[in-house]
């Protein structure tokens, strides 16, 4: 599909520190969203379920690893598509939560995220270079 490749060997080049940073950011944002929800209610907590701290960490790590800005900008361009998929994820959960069991809602919403982001990539991603 338009030059997309899965290369497990690339994991060996990934610094452990990068993964630890991502784990830490994921943990902190998850806890922070929960605490916001406790203090200001679930709608406010929900807003922070899409807080971009992890993306900021990822972009910074890519720049450190690659020593140039172009791959960082390409990653951010891809993140626009992933973020649009997140709107679909949230809308799916909102619409289906009253109708289906929670586990099924989350599975369907995750599939919706992947489908929307994937289709957007096919439509807009490869056309503008790597």
């Amino acid at each position: 599909m338009n030059g997309i490749r899965l290369r497990p060997s690339k994991l060996r080049e990934t610094p452990v520190r990068g993964m630890v940073v991502r784990f830490a950011f994921g943990a902190v944002v998850s806890v922070a969203a929960g605490l916001v929800g406790l203090r200001w209610g679930p709608v406010a907590g929900g807003v922070f379920l899409a807080f971009p701290a992890i993306l900021a960490a990822t972009l910074t790590l890519i720049e450190e690893e690659e020593h140039r800005r172009d791959p960082v900008a390409q990653d951010a361009r891809g993140a626009v598509l992933g973020a649009t998929g997140m709107v679909a994820f949230a809308a799916c959960v909102w619409a289906l939560a009253p109708l289906l069991p929670a586990w099924l809602v989350l599975v369907v919403a995750t599939v919706a995220w992947a489908v929307v982001a994937g289709l957007l990539y096919l439509g807009f991603g490869p056309r503008h270079g790597q």
Binding site: G26, A27, A33, A83, A90
Partner: protein
């Protein structure tokens, strides 16, 4: 489940899911496709799962309503981050773009609330 265990569980699951999506992104090329996984719903999956376990299913739609506002703001954040990281670098660019996320998310939250 006590509040402390709820917070610990939320943090652990959030960290693990973010790392899992990051691993998938690291293995993929081209970079633009891999970038999709930098904006994966990892934190949302963790938060919503723990919410359901702790409080039941009734709060899920309210979480999701707020998340719609946050996710629209994330789209704006990413769009602004692209030129910013080119111009001023990843750290400064992504920090400056946070202001855009905050404004759009705040407006969305005010609209919903």
């Amino acid at each position: 489940m006590s509040e402390v265990w709820w917070i610990v569980g939320r943090g652990l699951l959030g960290g693990l899911l973010v790392m899992a999506f990051a691993v998938i992104g690291e293995m993929l090329t081209p970079k633009r496709f891999a970038g999709i996984f930098a904006a994966a719903p990892a934190v949302a999956l963790a938060g919503m799962t723990v919410t359901v376990v702790q409080k039941g299913e009734h709060q899920l739609d309210e979480d999701a309503l707020g998340m719609i506002a946050g996710a629209v703001a994330l789209v704006a954040y990413c769009a602004v981050a692209v030129p910013l990281v080119r111009r001023v670098g990843a750290l400064a660019g992504s920090l400056m773009a946070l202001a855009v996320w905050a404004i759009v998310a705040g407006a969305g939250w005010a609209l919903i609330a």
